[in-house]
């Protein structure tokens, strides 16, 4: 309850704090990145399934929403939801055969599938306008809207992790065999995680389309997928608040280095290696912010 209230307060601050146009853009981008990162986090951080293809689900969301709003004049709200649902459907279809794979095999398969989805979008000229991109999307993603959707999704996500499903995912991450011998249908567990994560990434993609008013398959390449997973690791595998903090921090750092954009990726790569070498558990390890605060208070008392 306290967590929900704090999230709502953060939401009000993000939505109402007076900001210039440029900073507003950063807030929107931060919300979008956080939503996508939460999606990857529930799969990689909480279920232990390492993905390198989740940008494809963002692409599916973005294209679904763009086509629905531009071609068929659908209102943005149902179109964004449809974007999330499209990602869910494709994830489910992909998940049936591929979730049997474990470890690096799933990671490589996810690269293959992610790239395949991108290539299909690129080559299906008549429907997606191909590699040149899809212009003229109504800029429906306002700051308030992005913040509200982010906060609502964050509340749902934290609630979900603090429930039957959260324990189920963590059990199958820590020891899949033991989980199945505690009565969990582990293939189904993995599917639940994948579908939820695809929904989040689909929504993030839909919002990105509305923010940029232009989408292009190359925006959702393997580099983007890697970035999503890297952010989750940076925040700490198994920490949702870490994921959000990490994602927000990386967005800000990347914006800060925008002027020296050619060094941006270099710094990003260095950051990844340095974190892995010196603090592989990420920002918060596998703990949530409030758990760490509680311990600190306990130790001081």
């Amino acid at each position: 309850m306290k967590r929900t209230l704090i999230l709502i307060l953060i939401g009000f601050a993000l939505a109402l704090w007076p900001l210039g146009g440029y900073q507003e853009g950063i807030v929107i981008l931060m919300c979008i990145n956080c939503i996508a990162a939460m999606g990857v986090s529930i799969l990689t951080g909480f279920t232990g399934i390492f993905t390198l293809g989740h940008a494809a689900y963002m692409a599916l969301g973005a294209y679904t929403t763009a086509i629905l709003t531009v071609r068929y004049g659908v209102h943005w709200f149902p179109a964004v939801i449809a974007g999330g649902l499209m990602a869910v459907i494709i994830a489910w279809l992909i998940g049936i055969p591929t979730l049997k794979l474990t470890g690096d095999y799933y990671a490589i398969a996810s690269i293959g599938l992610g790239e395949a989805i991108r290539l299909i979008l690129e080559n299906w000229q008549s429907f997606t306008r191909g590699a040149r991109g899809f212009p003229g999307i109504d800029p429906y993603t306002t700051r308030t809207m992005a913040v509200v959707i982010f906060i609502v999704l964050a509340i749902l996500m934290f609630n979900l992790l603090d429930s039957r499903l959260g324990r189920e995912l963590r059990a199958s991450r820590d020891d899949g065999t033991a989980a199945s011998l505690m009565g969990f249908n582990t293939p189904r567990t993995r599917m639940k995680a994948l579908v939820i994560s695809a929904f989040f990434c689909g929504i993030a993609g839909s919002l990105l389309g509305g923010y940029m008013s232009f989408i292009q398959p190359s925006m959702f390449d393997m580099m983007k997928s890697t970035e999503l997973t890297a952010v989750v690791v940076f925040g700490g595998l198994g920490s949702m608040s870490g994921t959000i903090l990490g994602s927000a921090a990386i967005t800000l750092i990347m914006e800060y280095f925008r002027d020296i954009s050619q060094y941006r990726m270099l710094i990003y790569g260095l950051l990844l290696v340095v974190i892995m070498v010196f603090r592989p558990e990420g920002l918060l390890g596998s703990h949530e912010v409030w758990e760490l605060l509680r311990w600190r208070r306990k130790n001081n008392a």
Binding site: G112, L266, L271
Partner: protein, 298 residues
């Protein structure tokens, strides 16, 4: 595009030539996987280092072809060893989770790629015209066989042969094969594991450089050239991760599939075919052609 026998033969030749380059890359990647059980995404970076080293030795310092190639192989090998020492070794000593190694390797790949972007620029370069023989032999029916095709096939065979001899006939080669079965036991048997892993990375780096030089001859040289290793990874998975013969077979299959698609369907579809092949293979036989099925003790 109509099916003609000469096109078919032509595309088979192209496919084998491309496949042999993939094989050089995939074998190095698979070798590292067989020892450390993680996907080294920095492998593409090693390849780029090899390509650029060769380019600069040839153009800036004016060395001959053989010296430049040799220098490139050494440069790439050393880069691989440095990467292992600076990035992977500290992680390995701290945790057994290969996920961290995987992400670090992605970081290294990004660093190498962008070091070249920042220092020499993202411009596309070509190795000088007269570096390698460029002759084209006409066979029957318009089928051509270029000297670079022959060269890449022959070089791939030579290097893979050398690797085979190294792994089977030398003391360290045998140690590497033992470590591929069980690295901890190999350590207990008195093998210097740190040196052995460095050696493996050196060999992988050298093979990647050979692949990198051929790719820059065939296409051109640019910092993102390393991304082609994704194909080699896929080839290695199709063959069975960690299996060297598997990596070679997978690479040839992939090269052929790509070129035949380009010849008979459309060249835009070739990547899609590659990824579909990967997914189909994983569904039918997740461990690949030569992979080991792993079972867990409970």
């Amino acid at each position: 595009m109509a099916f003609t026998f000469s096109t078919f033969i032509q595309q088979v030749i192209n496919g084998l030539s491309l496949g042999s380059v993939y094989a050089l890359i995939a074998v190095g990647y698979s070798l590292v996987y067989s020892i450390l059980l993680f996907s080294n995404f920095a492998h593409g970076g090693f390849l780029v280092v090899g390509g650029y080293a060769c380019y600069y030795l040839l153009t800036q310092w004016g060395y001959g072809v053989s010296v430049s190639m040799f220098g490139a192989l050494i440069a790439s090998g050393i880069t691989a060893v440095i990467t292992e020492r600076l990035a992977y070794k500290p992680i390995r000593e701290r945790t057994s989770l290969t996920l961290y190694l995987l992400i670090a390797s992605m970081g290294v790949n990004i660093i190498i790629e962008n070091l070249f972007v920042v220092t020499v620029g993202g411009r596309i370069r070509a190795l000088p015209q007269n570096t390698f023989p460029t002759g084209v032999f006409s066979l029957w029916g318009g089928v051509t066989l270029s000297a670079s095709d022959i060269l890449s096939l022959v070089t791939a065979v030579i290097f893979l042969g050398l690797l085979q001899v190294f792994l089977n006939r030398t003391r360290w080669g045998l140690a590497i094969r033992a470590a591929a079965c069980d690295i901890r036991t190999a350590g207990l048997m008195g093998v210097n594991v740190t040196f052995l892993i460095s050696l493996v990375f050196f060999v992988a780096g050298v093979l990647a450089a050979v692949g990198g030089i051929f790719l820059s001859v065939r296409y051109s040289l640019y910092p993102q050239l390393g991304s082609i290793t994704t194909k080699a990874f896929i080839a290695a998975v199709i063959g069975g991760l960690g299996s060297l013969p598997g990596a070679v077979v997978g690479s040839l299959i992939l090269g052929l599939a790509e070129m035949l698609t380009a010849g008979f369907i459309s060249s835009q579809m070739r990547d899609l075919v590659v990824y579909s092949l990967l997914v189909i293979m994983l569904l039918i036989r997740p461990a690949g052609f030569f992979g080991k099925e792993i079972s867990e003790k409970i």
